[in-house]
Symmetry: C2
Subunit: 404 residues, 2 copies
């Protein structure tokens, strides 16, 4: 593909994503839904003007990394530590319930498989795909609703991060049991090592930025070097510790969130995010979708897969929320906020394909799950919050914060 065609693709994506974003808002849905639909429209499914290519994949990845970095920047370290244990419990429930449900669903369709058999691992793998929450769309919706800093918002983001980590550990375990090449124990050690390195290294980096910020406040070097740090940590997380790059980006944001200039950094990062990378990321979800090679049984499986994937997260995380003494409305928000799936599910599916645990046909189910959850989560979240705002119930912690 020539460079000049990239300009054409970008022009179409930016124009359609913005116009559909505005349209979605007119229908009281969040802008990201419009942007995903714009991708679906201009992509191979409908008009076929643009197909997913390496450049768009890379831009989308940068988009999601920047998004997670800005979430980290916005986070409140004290609040995060306070919600930590709760988030951990929610994440555990959010992994276990979908994992078991997914495995049972597969066995329901293709017969019960004995422990340790080929089919057993395939069933567990279907559950694994359902495990990893993708926080990015929820984050974008919460940002739009202005609830990202609320207690529920912080809990969802923290839980989704931990959920990702547990999901990746589970993935490595499942593949590890099938393939003796990878070492599940190593994964746990690497994950712990990353967080130790992140805390120590992060403190040193924070000190450097603190000095830089004091000497040259509000200069361009601060946001530019911050972004370089974010990209660097994302790379190190994924390459050397086997942790998703978005987790690295989030941690990078958390490291810098107590800086005096953190709002200045965020503002600069946000401009690039909404001007270029954000629309490309959300449109690329629509672009990935393709409805070829679909048959009746697969359709039935796909539909059940999506329903189980969504419900198992809502039930698992909502239940954990209730256990942690959130009220019913907030528990539901947590469940819905955690039900989005995204690029991590695709990455997991891709790994299963190369490990022989999955055939390419099931990708349709994964994409459908991503699409349905990506579109419905923001809409349901918005409905839940607007119901709250109407009632303005004194029991809901969020409405208090939002009004503050």
């Amino acid at each position: 593909m020539e460079t000049v065609d990239t300009l054409r693709d970008l022009a179409i994506i930016l124009l359609f994503a913005k116009c559909f974003g505005i349209l979605a808002r007119k229908f009281k849905a969040p802008q990201v839904v419009g942007q995903i639909l714009a991708g679906l429209l201009v992509g191979p499914c409908v008009l076929g003007w643009i197909s997913q290519n390496d450049f768009i994949t890379d831009m989308a990845e940068i988009g999601v990394v920047i998004l997670m970095f800005s979430v980290g920047l916005e986070s409140d370290l004290k609040e995060l530590l306070k919600t930590g244990p709760v988030a951990f419990l929610i994440a555990c429930f959010g992994v276990i319930v979908p994992l078991v449900s997914g495995a049972l669903l597969y066995m329901g369709f293709y017969g019960v498989a004995p422990w340790g058999s080929e089919n057993f691992y395939k069933a567990v793998f279907i559950g694994t795909i359902m495990a990893a929450t993708s926080v990015s769309i929820t984050v974008a919706s919460l940002q739009e609703l202005g609830k990202i800093k609320s207690k529920v918002g912080t809990t969802i983001v923290s839980a989704a991060i931990i959920d990702d980590i547990i999901g990746i550990i589970v993935l490595t375990f499942v593949i590890g049991f099938k393939n003796p090449g990878s070492n599940p124990g190593m994964v746990v050690i690497k994950t712990i090592a990353f967080f130790i390195v992140a805390v120590i290294g992060g403190y040193l980096i924070y000190k450097i930025f603190f000095t830089l910020d004091k000497k040259y406040p509000h200069t361009r070097r601060i946001p530019i070097i911050s972004v370089a740090f974010c990209f660097g940590l994302s790379y190190i997380a994924e390459r050397y510790f086997g942790i998703a790059d978005i987790t690295g980006a989030y941690v990078a944001g958390v490291v810098l969130c107590s800086l005096k200039d953190n709002e200045y950094i965020e503002r600069k990062v946000d401009v690039s995010s909404y001007m270029f990378f954000g629309p490309i990321f959300f449109a690329s979800i629509g672009l990935k979708t393709s409805f070829d090679n679909v048959n009746e049984k697969l359709i039935a499986f796909c539909i059940c897969f999506v329903i189980v994937a969504l419900l198992s997260k809502i039930i698992g995380c909502g239940l954990a929320g209730r256990l942690c003494k959130y009220n019913m409305a907030d528990s539901l928000k947590i469940g819905v906020g955690m039900m989005t799936r995204g690029e991590v599910a695709l990455i997991v599916a891709q790994k299963g394909l190369s490990a022989g645990l999955l055939t390419a046909d099931y990708f349709t189910a994964v994409i459908l799950m991503i699409l349905v959850s990506s579109i419905s989560t923001p809409i349901i979240l918005k409905l839940l919050y607007s119901r709250d705002d109407k009632k303005s119930s004194p029991g809901s912690d969020d409405s208090k914060i939002a009004q503050a």
Copy 2:
């Protein structure tokens, strides 16, 4: 290449480009010089951490397109029309003098070739490579010096744009004479057609933006749709009219330069430009450089090639400046401002390679010309302007404007 490696590349480029940019400023050189040197350092020439790849090429292209768009946005339509005829004369001299000098240089090294022979076209082609000015580095330097809106600044930018167009017409003529497949007459018609389409289409687009701007001033949709328009016109220019995409981007900027919100658009575009695309573009010039396959005769040719390339532009454009009644100091600035070569020279060289008019060895000369001109132009320009500021000579039009 995996996406995660892209994050690593970006982290290194952004960090080094910014640090070297700051360093360059400390030595009173413009930041872009530091950014090019940063690319040279991390690229295959020195450390070898990063090599040019498709993603960086695309990002760099977007960078230069955005840069030209923002130059167009900053331009003053009235001033541009006023400097038009002068710019045209300067551009003509800026093409003819290097074209003839380059051809003579080749003949000096490899023997006089009779009119119409294979070697004659090769000689003319060496001149053609020297013809196209790359305005981007000059523009960035003038922006840094705050002289982009001055009379000399406007003249240089307009002349460089026209120069590009003439250069591309010459290229098509030279290749056309060798290869009967392309039609030189068609090139002229297409160029004229583009500007007719741009004027008519541009007026309609301006009207749409004018309404949009009136109804929704200072909303995100304005800069986003502007950028989409810029990318779209860049694409159309190159794909359908055979005109460089950067020319399309510049025209897109000029179309929107009279909008009320043009400063708002520019501010948003600038943030993405200095945060991501700009540093990547300038560093990529350094990345492209490689000093393999170099021998003595080639070194001698390269050195002469660079000297002739720079002097012929300074003499040609400076002379035209004098003819247009600029004083000596301003004529020199115009000559120096026009001497930068960039991606267009590389594109021309690449086309010569595929047409059999050039061997790959000469790429070293082209890259050296780009590198030397890119590094020396900003430094010399800065010196010329600082000499002006010291003297504050009443004859210099620029110093008056700069103080206004």
